[in-house]
């Protein structure tokens, strides 16, 4: 079974600063995908970024980037130039590639507050 651990239940960052959210996972699989989802107060789940495990290059989407360390089973999210709209719950998630259900296994989430 796969597990995803987010060790920071809550974090805060000043507007325009940079913050890093941590995520570690445990799996015996070699091919998988990792995701960060954002859940603002509206409750909508929004995909922020995805990473394929077979790719060594870290994924980047505008102000969002990841630090993927496959050997360490670590997948952190860096948010640069934080904005008030980044205030949300952030969930790290794992999916086994090419098999069965394509279900997501989620961490418990990190609540991020961006302070003006």
């Amino acid at each position: 079974a796969q597990t995803v651990t987010q060790s920071q239940p809550e974090m805060s960052v000043q507007e325009a600063e940079t913050v890093t959210l941590s995520c570690t996972y445990d799996t015996s699989e070699n091919n998988y995908y990792l995701f960060w989802y954002k859940q603002p107060p509206s409750r909508q789940m929004i995909l922020v970024i995805r990473q394929e495990a077979y790719k060594q290059q870290n994924a980047t989407e505008n102000r969002f980037s990841v630090n993927f360390q496959k050997a360490a089973k670590s997948f952190s999210l860096k948010i640069s130039d934080s904005q008030l709209g980044d205030t949300a719950m952030y969930f790290c998630a794992f999916m086994i590639a090419g098999a069965g259900s394509y279900q997501l296994t989620f961490g418990k989430g990190t609540k991020l507050s961006v302070i003006p």
């Binding site: 995908y33 259900s101 279900q103």
Partner: protein
């Protein structure tokens, strides 16, 4: 936005009553999922479907059943609601093929 709609958006029900939540998609995706979200637990998979009439259990399936008679609809039923099933329920869809899942707006269910 992915074409996925959950109904109802909010519901309050009494212990012991049956409840059905509906998920409707217009994307023709093969896979559909029901998750529940609880504080301190993130999202946990209840059941999923990989085709019409093809379903399987997830991590927290006890007390829940599902049905999928059409590609576009996936129903979650609580046969006899309990207070422990008070939660926010999310439906998600995906095409498999290693793509991300798209989520509905969620249903807040309160069992009193």
């Amino acid at each position: 936005d992915a074409g996925i709609t959950q109904s109802p958006r909010h519901k309050v029900t009494e212990t012991g009553t049956p409840v059905t939540l509906r998920c409707h998609q217009t994307e023709n995706h093969r896979y559909m999922y029901w998750y529940r979200q609880d504080p301190g637990h993130g999202l946990r998979l209840i059941h999923y479907s990989y085709g019409v009439k093809d379903t399987d259990k997830g991590e927290v399936s006890d007390g829940y059943s599902v049905s999928r008679s059409k590609t576009e609809d996936f129903l979650l039923t609580l046969e006899s609601a309990t207070s422990s099933q008070t939660s926010v329920y999310f439906c998600a869809i995906g095409s498999g093929e290693n793509t991300e899942a798209f989520f509905g707006q969620g249903t807040r269910l309160t069992v009193v």
